[in-house]
């Protein structure tokens, strides 16, 4: 198997997985319940989601560790089981047989003032602890995702690198489309933010969540024109809508694949996948549109 950093640098574009929480919900996870608890109590379902993605063509899958930092686990009374949860989540992802397993690192759940009451030390503590716990699990990378504050993304990146210097860190921020371009909720602009993360040592940088594939494609074009970093993109399947008591997303797998496929053959787009509402059908559709590694002429 190719070394991950080599693969990110040289391509072909790495196919990631899609939405995870939405897939657990489809298997019966109740609203507001902790996906992390399922790692302990419903491991077969967690493994089932991973396997479905691997069968659809995902080469790198995210372990179910997005919410497995102390601050978030505390809300569900699970902080005492933080090691067990992180270790078991990586084992389940490994078991699914993907070539690469990424530890998924989500936000702490608390913002800096004036919006929230967090401080940098709390953030550092949370990410370093999760990084140390995951350091010897054999994950191929950390993927910091869904960060709406560049400062939290940078703090996570620095803390993880301190905790596990040998493991590459990818960082994806969440951007909204505004009149003047793409910005995070806290007002961090796309262009400067990606460069800052690259300079701070991220192996690849990018965007996930909130935007549907069409907007994400536009974001990718702006990013490609303005930074020489390796890039990763994971759009949503459009906006969730409730119809007849069931949640559906506005976009079809075909549209999603259509928007993303051109990026897959663009140099420096190192990884593509999906976020909320995307399921294995989306990944399969994208796989079908991407040239497979084996099909690339030597």
């Amino acid at each position: 198997m190719t070394d991950l950093l080599e693969r990110l640098r040289r391509g072909p574009c790495l196919l990631l997985d899609g939405g995870f929480g939405s897939e657990l919900i489809a298997r019966g996870l109740e609203a507001g319940a902790s996906p992390d608890r399922w790692t302990l109590e419903r491991p077969a379902d967690v493994l089932g989601v991973h396997r479905a993605y691997v069968e659809a063509g995902s080469e790198a899958i995210h372990a179910n560790t997005f919410g497995a930092n102390r601050a978030r686990l505390e809300r569900h009374g699970l902080a005492g089981r933080i090691e067990e949860i992180n270790h078991a989540a990586v084992r389940l992802a490994r078991e699914a047989g993907a070539p690469y397993v990424f530890a998924d690192i989500g936000p702490s759940g608390e913002h800096l003032p004036p919006v929230g009451r967090a401080n940098l030390d709390e953030w550092r503590g949370a990410f370093e602890e999760q990084g140390r716990i995951l350091a010897d699990t054999g994950v191929d990378a950390f993927h910091v995702e869904t960060m709406t504050d560049l400062r939290e993304g940078l703090t996570a990146l620095e803390s993880l690198r301190r905790a596990a210097p040998k493991i590459p860190v990818l960082v994806s921020l969440t951007f909204e489309r505004k009149k003047r371009g793409f910005f995070t909720l806290m007002g961090d602009p796309l262009l400067g933010s990606l460069t800052r993360l690259r300079d701070a040592g991220a192996a690849a940088v990018g965007a996930n969540c909130t935007l549907a594939s069409g907007d994400m494609r536009d974001l990718a074009r702006e990013a490609l024109a303005s930074t020489d970093a390796l890039l990763a993109f994971q759009p949503n399947a459009g906006t969730p809508v409730l119809a007849g008591g069931r949640t559906t997303y506005a976009q079809s797998p075909g549209e999603f694949a259509e928007d993303l496929a051109p990026l897959a053959i663009t140099p420096r787009v190192a990884a593509l996948g999906g976020c909320c509402g995307t399921d294995p059908r989306f990944i399969r559709a994208l796989r079908a549109r991407m040239s497979r590694p084996a099909a690339v002429p030597a």
């Binding site: 004036p114 919006v115 009149k179 910005f183 007002g187 906006t239 409730l242 949640t247």
Partner: protein, 213 residues
């Protein structure tokens, strides 16, 4: 009387300067100025502009929260005088607000609470993951005019329907209106369950004002 220059009052809110807002408010009444006019023509203008800048994409969440905090500081400083003069500033109505049960999303709801409070509503923020029973109990206790419920997930959005039905069935003192919001919610959904809808914090203020007019 001081010269009627409201611009510094507005500016303090636009700049999100909490201390300056409170200081200007106290100086205004100390110099014999009308506290109600300070709110209506000074500080409120500032928060209105902050809202516009946010909607235009010039301001982001931190600036919006900071502006609202400055507005609240001014109202707080003026409260003794406003209370003596009239109910203005805190007489706009009482809102009980929270994110529905099973949903931990807090930012949007807190922002609506902050803006309503900055506009002079009496706001009781119940936090996130709030049960229908607790909404009803708190609405009764505070004699709420509006019960506002946020849901960020399609799976928790259905609880807004339960809440609307429970509030209507509870026979509360002021027959509160129900205001809903959150990413998956729509005007059509609000109409279906007999509620008002706001797509963001600025709209929530306008809808709440309209509902109580």
């Amino acid at each position: 009387m001081p010269p009627l220059d409201y611009a510094p009052l507005s500016k303090a809110v636009i700049d999100g300067d909490v201390e300056e807002s409170a200081r200007l408010a106290r100086a205004w009444v100390a110099a014999g100025g009308d506290p109600l006019q300070a709110v209506e023509q000074g500080f409120s203008e500032g928060i209105r502009r902050v809202g516009e800048l946010w909607e235009e994409g010039e301001y982001f969440l931190p600036e919006l929260v900071q502006g609202a905090d400055a507005m609240k500081a001014a109202l707080e400083a003026l409260r003794p005088w406003l209370g003596a003069r009239s109910n203005a500033g805190h007489g706009r109505g009482c809102v009980v607000i929270g994110t529905v049960e099973g949903d931990l999303h807090d930012i949007g709801k807190s922002l609506v609470a902050t803006m309503l409070s900055a506009y002079g509503f009496e706001v009781h923020d119940l936090g996130s993951d709030v049960s229908v029973a607790r909404f009803v109990e708190e609405a009764r206790r505070h004699a709420a005019d509006i019960v506002a419920a946020s849901a960020l997930l399609t799976t928790t959005m259905v609880i807004q329907r339960e809440l609307a039905a429970a509030i209507q069935a509870a026979g509360l003192p002021r027959s509160p209106r129900i205001l809903i919001g959150g990413a998956p919610t729509t005007v059509a959904w609000a109409e279906e369950i007999g509620a008002l809808h706001a797509e963001n914090a600025m709209r929530a203020v306008a809808v709440a004002e309209g509902a109580l007019r």
